[in-house]
């Protein structure tokens, strides 16, 4: 296992390097640079634009810029944002914990809803419960997060005034402050995820329940609960965990809409703002962080497989 982990980590290095190169190349193929955008919309004067172009080496060939970026990266210098002039490392350090918190809480919420709902749906196939769960999942998948978020905000924040409508809660202000700020954004993100994972759990359970080993278990006279949770569920979880892992990877890249609606200072908003303003250093670092998160999550999912299904071995 250890060898496998080391190998995977070593493989990740060229993958991440490749990502930095592709991001860099794509950004330089994309029309517009931050200074030209500021200049054309008259946010800076030509004199300032010239100074900024020189300051950020935007007038240098792309390979010079890339070498400089890579050199800084290897020295642990993530650079400075062109538009905010703030240190990117501290911006990321401030936002990443918020993004991780929101991603994990949304995923937790989604799994808490999806797994029981999927099991009930599968074990009560074509019943009223199943149809209700299917309909709810359909609504959950179809509901745009910006709409659901605003709806929750209007109801819980404006009409009932029982939950805060902006920002991150702090444990130093009490547990309720921390949790209450998390509820609405997690719910907004978790509902869609839960719907997706419910459908997947149901389909996976249905497939597993028709397998021979389940039939054998039942024939041996095992209690249904034991058959479901010890034999069927563990096997049915492999595709669910794979999907959940991928979704978690996406969530760790930040959720722009939810972050904006609930004023949640996460990576998504930072990245999108950087893309809109062509803030190249911030885009490069955000993409790299996103890639690192993905690599870690897929590795964790692979490791998790071995706990769920002991037959899976990487040695």
């Amino acid at each position: 296992m250890l060898t496998y982990l080391v190998r995977r980590i070593l493989i990740a290095i060229p993958v991440l390097l490749g990502i930095t190169f592709i991001t860099f190349a794509l950004l330089h193929l994309t029309p517009g640079d931050p200074v030209r955008i500021m200049l054309a919309t008259e946010q800076v004067t030509p004199e300032v634009a010239e100074r900024l172009t020189e300051f950020y080496s935007l007038d240098k060939p792309w390979y010079v810029q890339y070498a400089k970026y890579l050199g800084n990266l290897l020295r642990g210098n993530l650079g400075v944002s062109i538009t905010s002039r703030s240190d990117i490392a501290s911006s990321i350090a401030q936002r990443l914990p918020n993004t991780i918190l929101l991603a994990f809480s949304s995923m937790l919420l989604a799994l808490v809803i999806a797994i029981p709902a999927g099991i009930v749906s599968a074990t009560h196939r074509n019943s009223l419960l199943d149809y209700t769960s299917l309909t709810a999942a359909m609504i959950g998948v179809s509901m745009p997060s910006f709409w659901l978020g605003l709806l929750l905000l209007l109801q819980f924040g404006l009409a009932w005034k029982i939950l805060p409508i902006w920002g991150v809660g702090r444990l130093s202000n009490g547990l309720w402050d921390f949790i209450s700020h998390l509820i609405l954004p997690s719910l907004t993100m978790g509902v869609g995820l839960a719907a997706l994972l419910t459908r997947l759990t149901r389909a996976s359970m249905l497939e597993v329940l028709t397998q021979d080993y389940v039939r054998t278990a039942r024939a041996k006279g095992l209690r249904e609960r034991l058959v479901l949770y010890r034999h069927a569920l563990r096997n049915a979880m492999i595709p669910v965990i794979t999907a959940a892992g991928l979704q978690l990877g996406y969530l760790l890249g930040g959720a722009v809409i939810v972050e904006s609606i609930f004023s949640w200072p996460g990576l998504g908003r930072l990245t999108i703002q950087a893309i809109q303003k062509r803030d190249l250093p911030v885009i490069q670092v955000s993409t790299l962080i996103f890639a690192v998160c993905f690599v870690i999550v897929t590795l964790l999912v692979d490791v998790l497989y071995t706990f769920i299904d002991p037959r899976i071995r990487y040695d």
Binding site: T30, P31, G32, D33, R36, I37, M38, L39, A40, T41, E42, Q43, V44, T45, P46, E47, V48, A49, R51, L52, F55, S81, T83, S84, R85, S86, D87, S90, S91, Q94, R95, L150, L153, L154, G157, L158, K161, I165, W166, G167, V168, E259, S260, I261, F262, S263, P265, R269, L270, Q273, Q276, R278
Partner: protein, 521 residues
């Protein structure tokens, strides 16, 4: 029984006193919703309005720009004079103290702000404030404790404008030495409020500077980051914030009905721009003809509520009084469909084959009007529809902003949505021939205009400069390099109980010689 009555009466009296007391002594806290907060280093603010607002409450400038006339008003400098075209003398306010109780100055150990601090701040800004235009300043010298002499390398009429010396915030050198990079999150100055908390992307909390030379009415100011416009309006209506800076204009009429007010000041110019070197717009008659075909008075109110805009006759907006000149430009404006079509016919564009489209040498008068997303798409859709009705095949091409900019600067765009914040020197940036392919996206070149703008740029006398500026603008509009549409005012929504609030222009002034914001109980 009597005893019970007495106790009840006493309770009522005490309760009344408590309630009244609470009304009198309630903390005056102002909460402002902003789009973002990133870095409040007073020397490194760029064009980030929210960061400028926070920093301008912490630090003082030499001057601030008046709420009605946008002209420099005394702040740290109680007076100033241009001794000659190259020399300015600033007389500083005496007894102004830097804030204490922070990492730079311990409680009770702050020192007085003097001419040396002004000189230091100007010199540092020249070195590090890449977003400011200070190259015109040759030297700054402290003549005595309260007098500063600024010498410029050329006559500098815009010295006391936004992005120039007026935007330099005065800080103590100790702040730079002690705080280093932390200056971005905990600046220290001499302003009316002291920064207590600054969390980028989240919030900033400032409390009253008890030693300020004016007595601020507010005890605390909070800036809260709510990036989603709809969410910020919900927060305003829920009473979670008192002011929404740069709110969505669409919400205006509804909020006005609900008792909120709009404190917009400044904004941006909106119009149609032509690349005057690209066919068919290289022909004046085509540009003028199209202008005459557009009923601008009907177009712009269809796009933004009337309270949030103003009809434009030129590029220079009302908040740049030096060049704002509707009376001088109105005669160049006009809606006359027949005259417009006649001009196009003079240029050779007629419906020769009777298919309903104007053509010339077998080619239809057809072009794309390029813009990026936003209200401008609606403006251009209306214009395209109007032009199609008279036989011009105009279509709207909405581009991503980077693509739009690249196309514009490369000269690939004939007709575009002219978008600019229209700062004081905007006319120069947009139309001086030396800036073609940079900020002169019209590729407009007129030696007379260049001469007028060059001369204005070195004319310190306000009236003379104003005359030159207006003359240049008139020529540009007469050449029909643009079709001015409207000025969009910044929409800052204010709760009814917030009084004396003046929206930012260059800096945010909550306490000044012109206003002192307070919350009405």
């Amino acid at each position: 029984m009597k005893m019970n009555r007495f106790v009840s009466l006493l309770a009522v009296v005490l309760l009344t006193l408590c309630v009244a007391g609470a009304g009198v002594f309630a903390e005056q806290v102002l909460k402002i919703s902003v789009g973002d907060l990133e870095n409040v280093d007073p020397m490194d603010l760029g064009g980030r309005n929210s960061d400028v607002s926070v920093a301008s409450l912490v630090c003082d400038n030499l001057v601030f720009l008046g709420k009605d006339d946008f002209l420099p008003k005394p702040e740290l400098a109680i007076s100033w004079e241009a001794v000659d075209d190259y020399t300015w003398i600033f007389h500083l306010r005496e007894g102004v103290m830097f804030q204490d109780g922070n990492a730079v100055f311990a409680e009770g150990e702050a020192r007085e702000l003097t001419a040396d601090d002004v000189v230091y701040s100007i010199q540092r800004a020249k070195e590090v404030a890449v977003y400011l235009v200070l190259s015109e300043i040759e030297s700054a010298t402290a003549l005595d404790r309260y007098t500063v002499e600024v010498k410029t390398s050329q006559p500098a009429p815009f010295l006391l404008d936004v992005h120039h010396l007026a935007s330099v915030m005065i800080i103590p050198h100790e702040a730079v030495e002690v705080l280093g990079d932390d200056l971005k999150i905990s600046p220290v100055g001499s302003g009316p409020f002291e920064l207590q908390t600054f969390i980028p992307g989240e919030r900033a909390v400032l409390t009253k500077n008890e030693d300020y030379w004016l007595e601020p009415n507010l005890d605390e100011v909070q800036f809260i980051v709510i990036p989603d416009p709809a969410a910020s309006i919900i927060a305003l209506e829920a009473g979670e914030v008192d002011i929404v800076a740069y709110g969505p204009a669409d919400e205006g009429p509804r909020l006005l009905d609900a008792g909120f007010s709009v404190a917009g000041r400044g904004g941006s110019y909106r119009g149609v721009g032509f690349n005057v070197t690209q066919p068919p717009f290289d022909d004046y008659r085509v540009r003028r003809g199209i202008s005459l075909l557009l009923d601008v008075d009907s177009i712009w109110p269809a796009v933004i509520p009337a309270d949030f805009g103003e009809r434009a006759y030129g590029q220079v907006p009302p908040w740049v009084p030096m060049g704002y000149d509707p009376e001088g430009l109105m005669d160049l404006d006009g809606y006359d469909e027949t005259a417009g079509l006649n001009l196009l016919a003079d240029a050779g564009w007629t419906d020769s084959d009777g298919d309903g489209w104007l053509d010339k040498d077998g080619e239809k008068l057809s072009f794309e009007m390029k813009c990026f997303g936003g209200a401008q798409v609606r403006v251009f859709t209306i214009i395209a529809t109007l032009l199609q009705q008279v036989g011009i095949e105009a279509t709207v091409l909405q581009q991503e902003v980077g693509v739009w900019v690249d196309d514009l600067l490369a000269g690939n765009t004939g007709m575009f949505f002219d978008f600019s914040y229209a700062g004081t020197t905007g006319l120069y940036s947009m139309f001086h021939s030396s800036l073609i392919t940079q900020s002169n996206t019209h590729f407009y070149s007129n030696p007379t205009v260049d001469t007028l703008l060059d001369e204005a740029n070195t004319t310190v006398n306000y009236e003379a400069r104003s005359t030159l500026w207006k003359a240049a603008q008139r020529l540009i509009v007469k050449d029909q390099a643009i079709i001015p549409l409207y000025f969009e005012v910044v929409t800052t929504y204010v709760a009814p109980y917030v009084k004396d609030f003046v929206s930012e222009w260059g800096t945010l002034e909550l306490v000044s010689s012109e206003n002192n914001v307070y919350i009405e109980e």
